[in-house]
Amino acid sequence: MNSAELTPWSVLRDGVRLIARFVRGHPFAFAIAVTGAAVYAGAIIASSLVIGWVTDTVVIPVLDAGESYSGLLLPAGLLILGVAVVKAVGIITRRTGAGYLQLRTRQDLRNELLDHQLSLKMSWFDKQSIGDLLAVADADVDQGTGVLGPLPYASGVVLLLFGSFAMIVAIDPWIGLGATIGLAVVIAVDIRGSWITYRMWEAVQVARGRVSSVAHESFDGALTVKSLGREGYVSERFGKESDELRDRLIQVNSTWTTYQTVIRAMPQAISIALIVVGAVRIEAGLLSAGDLVTVAYLLALLAFPVQLIGFVLWDLAGSQAGWQRIAAIFGARDFIDYGDLHASPDAGAAGISSAAVGFTYDGSATVFEGLSLDLDPGVTLAVVGPTASGKSTLCLLLARLWDPATGEIHLDGRDVSLFAGSELPREVSYVAQDAFLFDDTVAGNITLGSDFSEEEIKEAATLAGADEFVDDLPQGYETMLGERGTTLSGGQRQRIALARALIRKPRLLILDDATSAVDPSVEAVILRSLKSAALPSTIVVVAYRPASIRLADEVVYVDEKRIVAHGTHPELLASTPGYARLVQAYEEDARRIEQEAS
């Protein structure tokens, strides 16, 4: 939605729709909350009636007419107290119902968001910024449902307003007319003020975001800033953003303050006017002093709730802003299509065959065209190529984390896209360069909640070259990792991620530069033991280091969106100049130095 089209009325209209959507989820809680609000509104009106009645039957007769006080004094006190109790019950009911509605809706939305994102294609996920997705699940859900908090109260205030007007009109039509006009003006000013300050507030949020991003950037780059001696410049840059925020804040708060002062004073001005009108009506014998007190007391009680109407508009506008970002995720319909094939995880290493595979990134840039790859079961294949040549894409296609635009990929003769949800991973394990570790124990990170014995965990970790350092951790395999746990080096993280894949004894193991941060000699040991281990796996490994490439049975050289060559390492060295250049670039250093040394 274009924000320029927003008006208070569009906000109100769309806001009602949004609320209706939320209320449909938990209608009972909403009904309870509104009932509570109605009780509360009734109690406020009743309290002013009671005050009027007490004035007429007790206060004036005793204090003004000098009568001795009747037995009504104690009942009058109890009546006031009784009304207060009803009011308290109304508040509890309203707020508890509203709290339930709001908290449950938030819980539902967060669960739904995760479910929805899990069912979308990786190509969608890849285009999102993780930070934004997290912000939607956290802050936007809170903001989007923000309006549910004050909603029952607001509906209570509306009831209260109608009830009050009805009563004031019943007491005296002229005073009723005056009060209606007066409060209508207050509400109009309130809505206008809220609307204007809301728009200004959006600008404040933008300025606040800039202050925060400049701070983040500067702190992240602190080492560079300091080594260049540019602290002064960077501080000045931050100061400018900070002052921009300051000016915006002064602007919005000045406007807000002005409106608030006027809105607070207006009910008082109306009260004074009503006293004058009331005096005229009493003089004419059409009104009692008690009635006038009732009306004035009611107006005094209304002054505060009326101020809150403007806030509801804020909440409505804010909720819609948050909701739009939530709806954008629910609106993504790029679902993964699953078939109904079941995995046969125990059938030994799986062969790969594929034909005419094409892949385009984001529907525009072509990454692959007419790619064919056939691999016998149990072979170790190295994928080699320059940066951005499509090595990772090939891995992601094999693991069906992405889908090809054309062609098919078969695993052991079965189209990978025909597997049912969560089935393919029982045969294929994919390990990325960036080792993601969960906030869990070492063992939990390896099993990911599946059932594996301690021996199996240890065996997989040993094979991944992780057993030794895990044993040295304070609680061994039970040591907490991740955000609140022990920090591991990049190479150690990668080895845990590797163990996670190995424990599943996959029929196809894909290592996308998965040991890049491991020391070269350790990497060589791991790859060598993978080859000699009794794994039922075909292995596809993206490799940079010549030593790793050398370990593979076969090599594919990927460049310029296609497989340029497929064969053994010596074959490719002889037949493919591009391959030879790339591999030898690393090797040259070593050779020259060795020659010099000898």
């Binding site: 005793v62 009058a76 967060r110 925060s212 931050f238 000699s521």
Partner: protein
């Protein structure tokens, strides 16, 4: 620091940022004067009721109108004064807090914690964002309400005492009981809120982890387990939040019952006392209104007090930053560096962080002017710390470092930074153009100079290949460029400052062969003719160096030429064997 009172914190903040309190006294007087007007309504109401409406001689409408007009004028005057006061408060607090924020930022930027404990950065950003925002919100909403509400309470009480002191005393006692009760409730609730915060944090942790891990979850087919884990954490959170919500609602609505009791007490006592002491009906009715005027702001005061606690802890954290020492200080008695080439000596240097054991010890070395030195060692051997000490990003715990014969901590920082360049491993770029990123190395360099710098390092072709040349935006943290390209820009940035001593931390990540050639070539040009110290991750660098320094477990264990070290068969020879294993293809 934690035993510092809130009052001391506020005084401290006022010293740092005097704008906060400028004209505060006048502002307070004006705010009270403005607020005094709210009392006009009940008084006028009482007077018209007693003198006119209940007057047995009938109502003088002219007099009613006169009194009402006076009240309306007073109201308008009150609005104007009150608004002016609030505007003053808004201005002074916004200006003062912006100053405080910039000051805190500057102080943090000069501390070593940002690059020593990188994991704390996110936390430190909140010193200049959310902590200052808490203060800002307190000043704008809380502070204003506090001023307005407390003056309202004060005035309402005074008028009550004027009408009937005994009745006023009943109200006052009631008000204090009420305040006490609310504070007590809050203390009970705060414990519950703490538990809510823990659950909220936990559920968000699980949720955001699961979203970040979507690729892993997909790759391992653990969707159901992940959903279950998240659903469980969210349910725990709901239970805790809902229970606290219900509990809080019940506590606070009991306040309504209390307000009812107070009004009932005023009616009963008022009639009894009034009948005995000759209080008028109008006065008692005015009391009803005054009681209402009293209770409402009290709720605001109580809420503000709660608010003020989070503001106070925000302020405490900000002041802690301002009080923390800046480790690297400009010298009190500065000494200039010699005009040309710079040599380096380390004499018995030891370094340890406050929190741990020695990172470096017994380091003594001499690096001749114009020589090319490579530093090697395993991860954690101390080679990066050696570099940071050399460029004075850290100060040694013991020992002396001299550059050009001058003790490093005697060199004015500005001079040091312009003569000594450090290129960290990760070429950090700001979200700006290529040209502006290079200018961080020499402020005020013209486009032509930046352009020439690229050509001098033979990077003209690379630059020409960019869509908008020097004006290309590099994106957040240089994300639009590859790691190798960022490194290139960082090298140009060092080059344009024409330093006499260059300290380079080579990147470890693999880069494209073509880019790799460009990078190596640029580094070669950059180090030629000046003293250079390179933390080496590749064989060629060590091999080409005039001298290799080998670090192991925080000690300088070997130094000499590549060939000699290799022949000696020590730590260096082992490292070299490891490297070679990874690079051989046949």
């Amino acid at each position: 620091m934690s035993d510092v009172t809130t009052g001391q914190l506020i005084r401290r903040a006022l010293v740092e940022s005097p704008a906060l309190a400028s004209g505060l006294r006048l502002t307070l007087v004006m705010a009270m004067a403005g607020q005094a007007i709210t009392i006009v309504t009940p008084i006028v109401f009482q007077q018209i009721l007693d003198d006119e409406i209940l007057n047995p001689n009938g109502i003088d409408l002219g007099d009613v109108l006169t009194r009402a007009s006076v009240a309306v004028f007073a109201l308008i005057a009150g609005i104007i004064i009150g608004r002016a006061a609030l505007l003053r408060l808004v201005r002074s607090s916004s200006i003062g807090l912006s100053d405080l924020r910039t000051m805190t930022f500057d102080h943090l930027l000069r501390q070593s914690v940002l690059h020593v404990q990188a994991e704390r950065r996110g936390n430190l950003v909140s010193r200049v964002t959310s902590d200052v925002t808490t203060l800002q919100e307190f000043m704008e909403w809380g502070g204003v309400s506090l001023v307005v509400a407390s003056s309202q309470v004060l005035l309402a009480t005074s008028v009550m005492f004027y009408y009937q002191w005994r009745l006023a005393l009943i109200s006052l006692v009631g008000v204090f009981l009420y305040l006490f009760l609310m504070r007590w409730f809050q203390r009970i609730l705060r414990k519950n809120y703490d538990r809510v915060r823990i659950e909220v944090g936990r559920s968000l942790g699980v949720l955001s982890e699961s979203i970040s891990a979507i690729p892993v979850v997909r790759a391992y087919g653990v969707e159901a387990e992940t959903q279950g884990k998240v659903a469980e954490a969210l349910e725990d959170r709901f239970q805790r939040e809902f229970r606290t919500n219900w509990f809080g609602n019940s506590l606070f609505s009991s306040a309504e019952i209390f307000a009812g009791t107070l009004t009932a007490a005023v009616v009963i006592a008022g009639v009894l006392i009034g009948a005995a002491e000759g209080m008028t009906a109008g006065e008692l009715i005015a009391f009803f209104f005054l009681t209402n005027l009293l209770i409402e702001p009290l709720q605001i005061v109580v809420e503000t007090l709660e608010f003020s606690q989070s503001a106070a802890s925000g302020l405490r954290r900000v002041i802690e930053v301002l009080d923390s020492e800046i480790e690297i200080q400009d010298p009190e008695e500065p000494q200039d560096l010699p005009p040309d080439g710079l040599s380096v000596t380390f004499e018995d240097v030891r370094f340890a962080y406050d929190t741990g054991g020695d990172v470096l010890q017994d380091v003594s070395v001499k690096i001749e002017n114009g020589s090319r030195v490579a530093v090697v060692g395993e991860t954690g051997s101390g080679k990066t710390t050696f570099a940071k000490l050399l460029v004075r990003l850290l100060d040694p715990s013991d020992g002396v470092i001299r550059v050009g014969g001058v003790p490093l901590d005697n060199v004015p920082l500005e001079q040091l930074r312009s003569r000594v360049a450090f290129v960290p491993q990760e070429g950090f770029l700001f979200d700006d153009t290529i040209a502006n990123n290079v200018r961080y190395g020499r402020p005020g360099a013209t486009d032509a100079e930046v352009f020439t710098a690229f050509h001098e390092l033979d990077l003209g072709d690379w630059l020409a290949g960019l869509p908008e040349g020097l004006e290309t935006q590099v994106g957040e943290r240089g994300g639009a460029l590859s790691a190798g390209e960022r490194q290139l820009v960082a090298l140009v940035r060092a080059w344009i400052g024409s330093p006499d001593l260059l300290v380079l931390d080579e990147a470890t990540s693999a880069v494209d062969p073509s880019l790799d050639v460009a990078l190596r070539h640029a580094m070669e040009r950059l180090t030629r003719g000046r003293t250079s110290v390179t933390i080496a991750h590749r064989l060629a660098t060590a091999e080409n160096a005039g001298k290799v320094l080998v670090f192991d477990s925080g000690r300088l264990v070997e130094q000499g030429r590549h060939r000699d070290l290799l022949a000696a068969g020590g730590v260096y020879a082992d490292l070299f064997a490891d490297w070679s294993a990874g690079t051989k293809s046949v």
